[in-house]
Symmetry: C2
Subunit: 453 residues, 2 copies
């Protein structure tokens, strides 16, 4: 039996700065616009939602942004995270490819989300904020922010999409164990929640509505700021510790990836693993293939439009240019709840538009099959989101088998599936289906996009 091989950095090899890909973009990001006026938005407009340090990071052009010592100290609880060579999976696939995976499930809440939750809690605490409001769908983000808030003595208020609130009581229990208050969204606590309920009393909610509620509360309460778990530039920035560590670990292993793979919902775990490698490509140093994998049930990168759109349903958030299916698009209820967002991070969208990544969409049944195969070889059950990266990795490894090429593949195992066992039960019971939207359905969703002069 061949064993998994682990590459572990010592703590003094842990990155002390995040990597800001904005410094290496061949063309700058499109500006952010005010939701009402459609004019350029400034730091002052955002100050009601975010602490100033995060607003600065949002627009910074510096390549390296120092990780505060206090954040590094908390990172050290689970970082540097391990990089594994999946020798048993390679053997099962009988592939000449070398498969490496970076494992973010070692964090306290089991995903990559604490990388930014801890940083956001830190900056808010520094600037005297007392409470953070946020939304959560599947619950990975809400759990991470609840744990980070508890560490810094910040209250955390989570608007949890109503269908998840009902179907995932354990995720809610975890957030509550960390001391967070969890409210089913839409709620009667906000004007935007009440407006939705008045029109659709039986709605199951959506991430877009939950964002509206969390933003509304932050905008109204002086001691409260809003925290987002993906999409924004500073969130993606914080995740780059993943790829920076992987770079060093692959160096230890004597390899450099030919292909880097991540799953994409809002874009944060993908950015985390891929941005340092995309940056090297952009600087002309390397020529690594970069693959972003999204679900067929929410195909913003592969079937959306690259245009200005709102981040939420009530249109409180600024307008950003991104690949989007429209802010009123409600994707099918697949188990990879972390990938169900109508848009894609502006940075990831911009990079896709520049041709610096390949986008691919996969069906959930094939992804679950890949995840189960991975679990039996490697011992770790992946989160349904991560299964999309596993599926593409296996596809690429099997392609190597055909061609005889010994390519080096790196993917991000962004979280474990221990909170997602209902998904695996449903999969094994044959209860899951694939979702494929017709061209008409996608066109209808896109027709709802705002027209920006």
């Amino acid at each position: 039996m061949t064993s998994t091989v682990k590459y572990l950095l010592t703590e003094d090899q842990m990155p002390t700065a995040w990597y800001n890909i904005q410094a290496d973009l061949p063309a700058p990001l499109a500006p952010v616009l005010h939701p009402a006026t459609h004019q350029l938005i400034g730091p002052a407009d955002l100050a009601v939602l975010f602490p100033m340090e995060l607003i600065k990071q949002e627009v910074s052009q510096e390549r390296s942004i120092e990780i505060p010592e206090e954040v590094q100290q908390i990172y050290r609880q689970w970082r540097p995270s391990p990089l594994y060579r999946a020798r048993r999976l390679e053997q099962a696939l009988d592939t000449p490819a070398k498969i490496y995976y970076k494992y973010e499930g070692v964090s306290s809440t089991g995903s990559h989300k604490p990388n930014t939750a801890v940083a956001q809690a830190y900056y808010n605490k520094q600037e005297g904020v007392k409470r953070l409001s946020t939304e959560t769908g599947a619950g990975q983000w809400g759990s991470a922010l609840a744990a980070a808030g508890a560490m810094f003595g910040l209250e955390v208020l989570v608007y949890m999409v109503r269908v998840s609130y009902a179907q995932k009581p354990y995720r809610r229990a975890l957030m509550e164990a960390y001391g967070a208050r969890v409210v089913a969204s839409p709620s009667t606590e906000t004007a935007s929640g009440r407006a939705v309920l008045a029109e659709h009393p039986n709605t199951t909610g959506s991430l877009g509505i939950a964002i509206s509620e969390a933003v509304e509360v932050a905008a109204q309460a002086g001691d409260t700021r809003y925290a987002l778990g993906s999409v924004l530039n500073h969130v993606l920035l914080h995740q780059t510790v993943i790829g920076l560590e992987a770079l060093k670990q692959l160096e230890m292993a004597g390899d450099y990836p030919d292909i880097v793979i991540g799953c994409t919902g809002g874009g944060s775990n993908f950015a985390g693993i891929a941005f340092p490698f995309i940056g090297a490509n952009m600087r002309g140093e390397t020529n690594t293939r970069i693959i972003a994998v999204e679900p067929q049930a929410c195909p913003s990168l592969t079937r959306g439009q690259f245009t200005y759109d709102f981040g939420d349903t009530a249109h409180f958030t600024p307008l950003v240019k991104m690949y989007t299916l429209g802010s009123t698009f409600v994707p099918e209820g697949i188990h990879a709840g972390g990938l169900r967002y109508h848009g894609m991070a502006p940075l990831v969208s911009h990079i896709a538009d520049l041709g610096h990544l390949e986008a691919r969409a996969e069906h959930q049944l094939e992804c679950f099959a890949a995840g189960v195969q991975f679990a039996r070889c490697e011992g770790i059950l992946p989160a349904p989101e991560a299964n999309h990266a596993v599926k593409t990795t296996i596809d690429e490894a099997l392609r190597c088998k055909e061609t005889g090429e010994s390519k080096v593949i790196l993917f991000n195992l962004c979280g474990h599936g221990n909170f997602d066992l209902q998904a695996y039960m449903d999969y094994h019971a044959g209860k899951l289906q694939n979702t494929a939207y017709s061209q008409e359905e996608v066109a209808m969703a896109l027709a709802g996009l705002p027209v920006i002069a």
Copy 2:
């Protein structure tokens, strides 16, 4: 904010041998007796249940037993596990005590159980076994063996206590994702299961019954052996990597524990953390306080009798001398399911009888409160079993606050609570109660003990 401090060994500092406490016992263990004849049992009698290497380990008097290279390779997937200094908890308690915890939740199935599951799967595979049968209550052990079996290409058959099978479908889903077959116990697949069902058609099952079924299947099928997740000497042996690593890590930190604390059900995680320290005490090198914490709802060490008893309900297993409440004792249905076993490992029992450990029993409500306090400080939600160790640690740290002593406390955080969120929901909803048995109830249970000439 004070940060948690992590002490991580490099892989080349990982122990290459387990520590066998039998070499340091001031008096040998009482012999194991045949269940039918009450005569001394020999290796040949056990060969139908276990591979010969494990039988040898069961009786070995060697202080060090080498960890096979293949087992070490799999250990390296999550080992050496981190040792943390709980600085934020210390601060919250305002104690001069130094609190260290060894964290075993980093394994793929989230507890210490893979330390022995991998070793047992390895030795069985080496000796040509095709299938392993076992029992599981809470599911930690069944999950660990399912994952280990998948890695070695062994079939795994798990008899899961019926009440857990119904109440913990997610644990079952995890085992099935790893490819194990999970059967509710008592089942109609075994004579012992059918006998129980004939008498009690609506029984919810017990660990003792599930063991009987798993042993029966192993004894009858030539290609099948039995695997146990606790109690036996070789199982406790495999867990000593925990304490051996902790010793080295504390040396890195410049400390040696004044107090070592572990929770006890069958005894394996306690043995894992404590045996290396107890051995040093027995050799006269140190004078460390050792505390074993069990639930009031299953108080074998604190209220049981030290005598010969069966390990299972149908009396298929050998007779071993241990602290026991009687093999027919069915403890209350507390959430710390891993601690609900009528007996205590013979080695742990013998050491208790020799006065080399202090036993303590705690109520579950106080343990959950301690676990929630720990989670909010340290970010990790402990398993309900581990909460018993957390409770005692907090008590001892608060005692230090009273006396002003800066004692060094080490405890084993043997698993995370991410699979146990129903327990935390019930706790937060006020649905949990404490269990305290009257003297009469305990006396009645003990009256059922076998009389051995």
